[in-house]
């Protein structure tokens, strides 16, 4: 799949957002892709799909962002998207302890369905709110313990949203360059002559 995308665009990456219902996944994506903060949004149904092309070091990167529903009854839909993801963004609400307490459950899901090489990012959203329940440090420690990136954001105030996605694009780009270098390692393949000018040989014959 990866390879196909490479031909269509210089580089395409797939990102999936997961986390409890109401933590603001859709708002994060909307803020990043459309620059909007739509208040009073209904719950996402199934998965939403959005594309944004960004530039990383003069190269265009097509970000495919899958915004999954947080509700339990859509789990059988959302789970199927983990496998092809290059990055998973796990979101919780810093003003809501239960959304943080669920993180281990989400990690278990990721463990079960996603590729082991997937880039994992922990995001504490809604830092614009005054009623914070989870201190930054607690989130940081959790992320560190589970080998994830960590960032706190506010989709409402547009804090760190751009940074979050651009950082991921940047990292995936680096990863892709490395795998690409491996992919075309000549020792794995027959080295065959590359030019196909048949005119020359006909003369010799």
């Amino acid at each position: 799949m990866f390879c196909i995308c490479l031909w269509v665009f210089p580089f395409a990456s797939v990102q999936v957002l997961v986390g409890n219902a109401g933590v603001g996944k859709t708002c994060l994506v909307r803020r990043f892709t459309q620059g909007l903060f739509p208040p009073g949004q209904g719950a996402t149904i199934g998965v939403d799909f959005m594309i944004k092309t960004v530039e990383v070091g003069n190269e265009k990167v097509k970000l495919q962002i899958w915004d999954t529903a947080g509700q339990e009854r859509f789990r059988s839909i959302t789970q199927s998207y983990y496998r092809s993801a290059h990055a998973l963004i796990l979101v919780y609400d810093i003003s809501c302890q239960p959304t943080f307490d669920c993180l281990p459950d989400w990690l278990r899901e990721i463990e079960e369905y996603a590729s082991s090489k997937v880039l994992r990012v922990l995001v504490g959203n809604k830092i614009d709110r005054d009623d914070r329940e989870i201190p930054t440090q607690v989130g940081e420690e959790f992320a560190e313990r589970h080998n994830m990136y960590f960032l706190e954001t506010s989709a409402k105030e547009s804090d760190n949203v751009e940074r979050l996605f651009m950082q991921i694009a940047d990292d995936l780009m680096k990863q892709a360059r490395m795998t690409n270098a491996q992919r075309y390692d000549p020792s794995h393949y027959n080295v065959e002559p590359t030019t196909t000018d048949s005119g020359c040989c006909s003369r010799l014959n």
Binding site: F2, D48, F49, S76, S80, E192, P193, N205
Partner: protein, 752 residues
């Protein structure tokens, strides 16, 4: 003299000519003068006439000034008049208003008298019409009128009477309606239903009427559900009886909406369908929920899902699976029923959306109100129990479908069988049949999410369960063994023809390797066909996908295309194996035979060499044997690939042994012939040109076939015969050095 005379004559002639000219001119001048004289009187007349006109013009000017003044006067007075008219207009407006008020008052009087009588006469239509008339009056205006009038009490009385009558009528009609509902008197129900809007009770009327319709629907639905529950197992419809019950419910609802919509529109006005559907939806929700509950109980959905969940937990934790596995075949019909149920929910929701949207379009003009109502519609559908049930159905469907696909493919892997004289085993056809079936079924649910998830799951099953099996078989390798090749070929053929594998491990592994390779090749074709057909079928089933939805589908489909990438990696891996176990060990000794021949030939030796079995004939014969042993057991693509790998190996090895030999002119000639016949042989057996693979070898042979060292210049640089070299200058020099009859000093001196 004569010349002088001549000149005089000439002059005279000229003078004559001039004279004639002058005379002519004089005549024309005279004519002109005459003409002018003639006109003189005429012109003088004109002038006289004009001078007579002057006083008249003066009069005209004065008159015109008078006219302007008059017009100004008129315009002033007309403006005055128009302002008067305006005043008159407004006065008439007041008059009209008065008339209206008087009319209203008269009507009020009539209505207040009539309404009582009508109520007494039980003529509710008439009474309601009076009340309607009363309600259509401007109530504030009435109040103002009351203030202006002397006989206030009289009018206020009428108003009071009417208000009372309205309340009375409202109560009566509501009561009568309920009575009619209880008596199931359809005519009466319809009668009072039509009276409600006259009394300004639009919402109330719709509510009452739809509540009545609800009870009717509930009765039918209950009956249908009872029939469904008691349907005998042997009945043909039994496997999808709940989907049938569902469609009966939806059809009933749709019929109610379709038949009553014109009624609503006529008596209540357009734009009110949403209120009606809102009430009917509650019944729909209740009934759908009941059907689902009954269905889930009868089909033991929870138990099955739980079993599946437990099984996946056990396999993922690695513990041995003691649970009785559900046979995926047993789920097949159930999955079909769920997809049908889901599709029917989807269809009904689409129907409601379409109906109400059209009604809103016609009935609500105000843009703001329209968006608000549209939003209400969205919320109505989103929050309905029907939508929840639909989501739950989809969730069940996806769980079961995933299990079905995984287990069926696992079964296909376990039951993999090689039919005699087939190049691929049953695994490929079976797997793709299952995957295709699942995806098709997901398309029949009508849910894009369902399709996408099933595609995702199919990707996973194909990439992991299916490809890994093929790869694992290739990993076991192709044993080269000590068997003579023809013998090996016969054994392989036998085992394929008899449809069972021979006891020998070697042959078994060989067959399974070759079949795996063929399976991978055939699967690539199937994958491409699968992507095409999904795209087409989805477009057929969901024709109005927007750009985002299309992107979603395409993104998921690209995952399936990714399977073919993995397959081609597997094929590469397989050919690497074949190369190291089959091709290299055989080709190398065959080509190495070249070293046993002398390539510095005399004329006699040349003819002897050509008469006897030459190196190249033996090589081609050996290659022929090797190729023919693979020709029938490999698929066409794989066979082509096999030849390619073989050719690369042969040409590379050939190059190596050439570099180890010494040639004279005749030796070079023979080599050139040999290379051509080898290239000819390979090309004859393939659809592609092997020329490119032979490019280096051909060039080496050409160099060794030179008569003189300088010949290289004909092929090098800017000369006419220059070619694209695959050999570097230093390689060319070392090849030239292989010719024992070329002096190395001359070679060194070459400028390349």
């Amino acid at each position: 003299m004569s010349s002088k005379e001549n000149s005089y004559l000439e002059i005279e002639q000229l003078c004559q000519q001039e004279l004639e000219k002058l005379q002519l001119e004089e005549e024309t001048l005279l004519a002109d003068l005459n003409g002018m004289l003639n006109q003189k009187t005429y012109i003088e007349d004109k002038i006289r006439g004009l001078s007579r006109l002057i006083p008249t013009l003066k009069i005209m000017k004065n008159e015109a000034q008078d006219l302007v003044e008059t017009i100004n006067d008129i315009s002033e007075s007309s403006e005055k008049i128009s302002s008067k008219i305006r005043q008159l207009d407004s006065a008439r407006g007041h008059g009209d208003e008065c008339l209206l008020r008087v009319n209203d008052l008269i009507d009020l009087e009539i209505c207040s008298q009539g309404v009582q009588q009508a109520i007494l006469d039980l003529d509710y239509e008439k009474g309601a019409a009076h009340v309607h008339r009363f309600l259509s009056m401007d109530q504030t205006l009435l109040k103002r009128t009351a203030n202006d009038m002397n006989n206030v009490s009289n009018m206020l009385n009428s108003v009071r009477t009417l208000q009372e009558a309205a309340n009375q009528l409202q109560a009566i009609v509501e009561h009568k309606f309920n009575e009619a509902v209880n008596a199931e008197d359809l005519a009466a129900i319809e009668r009072f239903f039509k009276i409600f809007p006259l009394l300004g009770m639009h919402e109330q009327g719709l509510k009452n009427f739809c509540t009545f319709l609800r009870t009717k629907l509930a009765l039918t639905a209950e009956k249908n559900l009872k029939v469904a529950v008691t349907t005998p197992l042997a009945d043909k419809r039994h496997p999808i009886i709940y989907a049938d019950t569902m469609i009966l419910l939806f059809e009933g609802l749709a019929r109610v909406i379709e038949t009553h919509q014109p009624l609503f529109e006529t008596y209540y006005g357009p734009g009110r369908l949403i209120s009606a559907v809102n009430i009917l939806q509650k019944e729909c929700d209740t009934q759908v929920k009941r059907i689902i509950m009954e269905w889930s109980k009868t089909r033991q959905i929870q138990k099955k899902i739980q079993q599946i969940n437990e099984m996946s937990r056990m396999t993922s934790s690695g513990s041995f699976n003691k649970l009785e596995k559900i046979d995926p075949k047993d789920l097949d019909i159930l999955i079909g029923e769920i997809s049908l149920m889901h599709y029917r929910c989807e269809l009904y929701i689409k129907f409601i959306e379409r109906k109400i949207a059209a009604d809103i379009d016609v009935g609500i003009a105000d843009q703001e109100q329209r968006t608000k109502t549209t939003k209400t519609l969205e919320q109505l559908i989103l929050n309905s129990e029907l939508s929840q049930c639909k989501h739950d159905l989809l969730s069940h469907y996806l769980k079961l479908e995933q299990y079905f696909m995984e287990e069926s493919v696992a079964k296909a892997v376990n039951m993999d069988q090689l039919e005699p004289s087939f190049q691929t085993s049953s695994l490929v056809d079976d797997t793709f049949f299952i995957v295709r079936k699942s995806i098709r079924r997901s398309i029949s649910t009508g849910s894009l999410d369902g399709i996408c998830v099933t595609i995702n799951n199919a990707c996973r099953v194909l990439e992991n369960d299916f490809c890994d099996v093929i790869k694992a078989r290739l990993k076991q390798g192709y044993p080269s063994g000590y068997l003579d090749l023809t013998q090996a070929y016969n054994v392989l053929q036998n085992s394929i023809q008899q449809g069972r594998l021979q006891s020998g491990d070697t042959e078994q592994s060989r067959t399974s390797f070759i079949v795996a390779l063929n399976n991978a090749d055939n699967s690539t074709k199937y994958v491409n066909a699968l992507v095409d057909s999904i795209m087409k079928e989805t477009e057929g089933a969901c024709p109005n996908l927007n750009a985002t939805e299309k992107g979603k589908l395409e993104s998921c489909l690209s995952g399936i295309s990714g399977v073919s990438v993995k397959l081609s990696e597997i094929l590469d891996y397989g050919f690497q194996q074949l190369k190291s176990t089959v091709i290299k060990p055989r080709v190398n000794p065959w080509v190495d035979q070249f070293l046993n021949f002398s390539h510095q030939l005399t004329e006699d030796e040349l003819s002897a060499y050509e008469a006897g079995e030459s190196f190249i004939q033996i090589l081609i014969m050996n290659l022929e044997t090797l190729l023919s042993s693979f020709k029938d057991i490999l698929t066409a693509n794989n066979y082509e690939n096999f030849i390619k790998v073989l050719t690369t190996e042969v040409t590379q090895r050939f190059e190596k042994v050439i570099m180890k030999s010494q040639f004279n002119r005749l030796g070079g000639l023979v080599l050139d012939k040999d290379v051509r016949s080898l290239a000819g042989y390979i090309t004859s057996g393939t659809y592609w040109s092997a020329r490119d693979q032979f490019a280096r070898l051909t060039q080496i042979a050409t160099i060794l076939n030179f008569e003189q060292i300088d010949e290289i210049n004909e092929y090098w640089g800017n000369s006419d015969g220059a070619i694209t070299w695959r050999l570097s200058p230093s390689e060319i020099k070392s090849i030239l050095n292989l010719r024992s009859d070329f002096r190395s000093d001359d070679i060194k001196r070459l400028r390349l």
